[in-house]
Amino acid sequence: MTPQPVLEVRNLVKHFPVRGRGLVRRRGGEVHAVCDVSFDLYPQETLGLVGESGCGKTTTARVLLNLQPATAGHVHYQGTELTQLSSKAMRRLRRELQIVFQDPYAALDPRLPVNEIIAEPLRIHGLYGPSGREDVRELLRLVGLTPEHGNRFPHEFSGGQRQRIGIARALALRPKVLVLDEPVSALDVSIQAGVLNLLAELQTRLGLSYLFVSHDLSVVRHIADRVAVMYLGRIVEVATADELFSAPAHPYTQALISAIPLPDPRKERVRERIILTGDVPNPANPPSGCRFRTRCPLFAAHLTDAQRHRCTEEVPPLITHHHPAACHYTELSTLPALSGLSMATGDDLPRCARAMRGRERG
């Protein structure tokens, strides 16, 4: 039996009006930041939402938490439709849906001591009772800091420690779902690893579901159970992490994976690369049909004119071949990069993955 998703996102759309620079600020078209995005988030899983800058991954995260109103579409959280909720009703649900932001320098109030930063959500929700002080101390311990850190101010902490404070604040209300928006992108690699390990550990201990938004596929490969790849506002492929990285179906995913440098000189120097030409098109004026076609190596070199016509005219739906991919011709695309790249199996499963497996079996 498949478990019920905690969060169901259906046909989510977000358009931003583009306004002129003049005094009148005329509306001049719309940026289609998120276009018909659907996915499920299951209990205790990590879903990675990946893509390059401007693909709409952060907007998706913000819209589904109602931090920005959706233009169309639905978000169900355990039977409640979030997109239509009043801000008062939404506030009650925020206890269960929390977010950790990318920039640990901007996300913490510089004038509050850490104790107060973490206590703030508890106070807002009327949960800061007699045990409040001890609750905050416990949260600090939970994220690998010490209670003595609570009296200091954000500027006294390093980036990694600040991100831990942001995580402690998000966990204060005992949420079920945590949206992590590029939580380690601002951190150096030696610090990033500690925060990633912490997130994996917290997930097991607290039974959290993560929506992990990131541009870094190596990080997502490490932490995610499933991955959704976005390009120019649309999801182009969804698969388990193992499937996605060993047999990517969409030409964009293939190019993306092949572009990531491996920190291993011998492997890195024998890889074949798919180098995409050009840049991501303007989301205010996306290409018709398949949005990736302007950069697609398949479209450029391997399709007949009739096949190309279909790419230009028809938006490819997420169709399931091996796993869902939004390409008319997935069967034609191959990934040279992986032929030279043998997937090593690590010695042991991280705990979160083991928990996932156990649940799937049960």
Binding site: S53, S158, D188, H222, F245, A259, A344
Partner: protein, 342 residues
Amino acid sequence: MTSPGTPVLEVADLRVEFRTDEGRVQAVRGVSFQLSRGEVLGIVGESGSGKSVTSLAMMGLLAGSARVSGSVRLHGTELLGASDKALSRVRGQSIAMIFQDPMTSLNPVYSIGYQVAEAIRAHHDVSRDAAATQAVQLLDAVSIPNPAQRVDNYPHELSGGMRQRVVIAIAMANSPEVIIADEPTTALDVTVQAQILDALRTAKEQTGAAMLLITHDLGVIAGQADRVLVMYAGRVVEAGTVEEIFYTPRMPYTLGLLGSQPRLDLRRQRLHPISGAPPSALNLPSGCPFAPRCPLAAPVCEAEEPPLAGAGGHLSACHFSDQLVGLEPGDLFRPVSQDTAL
């Protein structure tokens, strides 16, 4: 022209110090290396390790508050302390530089064609037309589509990747002997990064220049560099060929960096973070600056900063580098469940 093997650029005991209100900041503490023609030397390190300050100091681009000492010699000619006039003959001509943010390295009010041509005319007595023709060729070399039309574009009309190509074209303009690329792909998306790394390789091959590639990305280093310097707290803590650094590191910090890097080609990989954070350059610990984070640290490490030493070209600054032979990151950096990050 130099024959292969003889160093084009020699940097010896480079030190940079900033006087601030809070005290002396020792940003670079004795960096030495040599660069030969056609070679790519990678400098890898985390934020604040001094890798960018090293390159700025070499070019004489630091503010007046910086105190620079040591020696930077291009074909034997000392650059440190040279007059601005002498340096401006070197900059862009013998040594070209590519910075992280292409928007701030280009002038927003001139067309890109003008800016490429300007780089040529600054060092060569050629006509405007000849320089303009060359500019089109250079833009073509870095794969800018329709270069003949694009020359009239202004930087704001181009994407980040295109702008960085223009910067690379400018760097190539005078066939420099050294190209310094400081985080050239950090601001770019990964599919664009692959294009820019290609353009950089073209630039290197067409000019035959030696390249100093500064980055925090171990993957970029693995793919591009011939030799690598690992920097920590203003010093080179390990130096060697790219294979030596990645497969037989002799400094715990290098091993820790490799162990904390998530990898695309590993399934269910366990990360081994380095506990703590790099020291502040304001008050460095006495002894080895990595000692507070190092699992091998012993009293000698706090008493005495180890010199960069070793056999052959593989050097490391660690009292216990022999103990690292055959170790995996997980053997040294054990995962701790309650990682008190201090």
